[in-house]
Assembly symmetry: C3
Homo-oligomer: 139 residues x 3
Amino acid sequence: MKSYRKELWFNIQTRRSFVNITPEVEKCLRDSVVQEGLVLVNAMHISASVFINDDESGLHHDFEQFLERLVPHEPIGQYRHNDTGEDNADAHIKRQIMGREAVIAITGGKLDFGPWEQIFYGEFDGGRRKRVLVKIIGE
Amino acid sequence: MKSYRKELWFNIQTRRSFVNITPEVEKCLRDSVVQEGLVLVNAMHISASVFINDDESGLHHDFEQFLERLVPHEPIGQYRHNDTGEDNADAHIKRQIMGREAVIAITGGKLDFGPWEQIFYGEFDGGRRKRVLVKIIGE
Amino acid sequence: MKSYRKELWFNIQTRRSFVNITPEVEKCLRDSVVQEGLVLVNAMHISASVFINDDESGLHHDFEQFLERLVPHEPIGQYRHNDTGEDNADAHIKRQIMGREAVIAITGGKLDFGPWEQIFYGEFDGGRRKRVLVKIIGE
């Protein structure tokens, strides 16, 4: 069994953003030379997500509106987590809705994807350096 | 390490539906002859889900009501994704809530499940042929 | 390829609770002696979750408030699942939002975690014995 590990680093300047990381994960897969197996891609921070959906800017706007309507950032004082001096309770909850990780099949050395599947990093508390882990196992 | 891959095809005529696919995944597992490992089951389309819950029609009604209340299909014009000519922005968001994939342990050649766990395909934008991927790795 | 399996048992007396199970999963990993691979940690019951977030009591209060506002336990009669004699339809829906499982990379014999990642069992229908599955594969 082969294994491969890489960290992808981000420094998103806005509070929230969605970044297509499919090319970076594909590069990891090529470097791993794994032909059959699984890729785990996960946020290493608990106020960020990795998820698979469509690379369409209108949809990303809809995600943003949906999440902010459901779990508004402000007023900050509505969340007990923010009593600790943080202001990112909403980001922790938004990340639960969007998910921490994606597990993707590897077949014939490629990400085994449907026609529109793309991998996104979802930032909900930007302004600092944060990481995504890519772990590949297989043969 | 063994690996196995199969696509399950669906053509749901209603917009939304939940289909129990546990027997099909169990058949894949038997065909793979893997005894110890992991099964990944994921929607290959970004307006559909794979998830694990109870096979009870009242609960499926409750899921439907919950999702439609939270992310209504209509009016279509409330979503920027639908400015592209699509009408399925709600389906992309519903799939995020219900999840893309399930990862299931294989122990002794069986799905290692609790007493009520069943695997479902969740369709949120039916009316055409769509696929689920079953990928098995192990020994 | 090595594989390892263990069930963790819980008997939460309140209806809802979040329990940090990171030490138990770390013990499983040591017992497995796997150095490179993946850990799957999943609720074996469909009214409970396994998820990764922050071990901060204010945040757990915020999760509880968010989930109960979105999917209130009462009135019980608002859910068709509860027509079966159950009163836990809300727990099945809450578990969908928080997720069934976490998949975690193993690197150098350790859980490959960011600085604040902790694994939680989320109980949404307590008062009886329930289980979490830990399955490890790798080398």
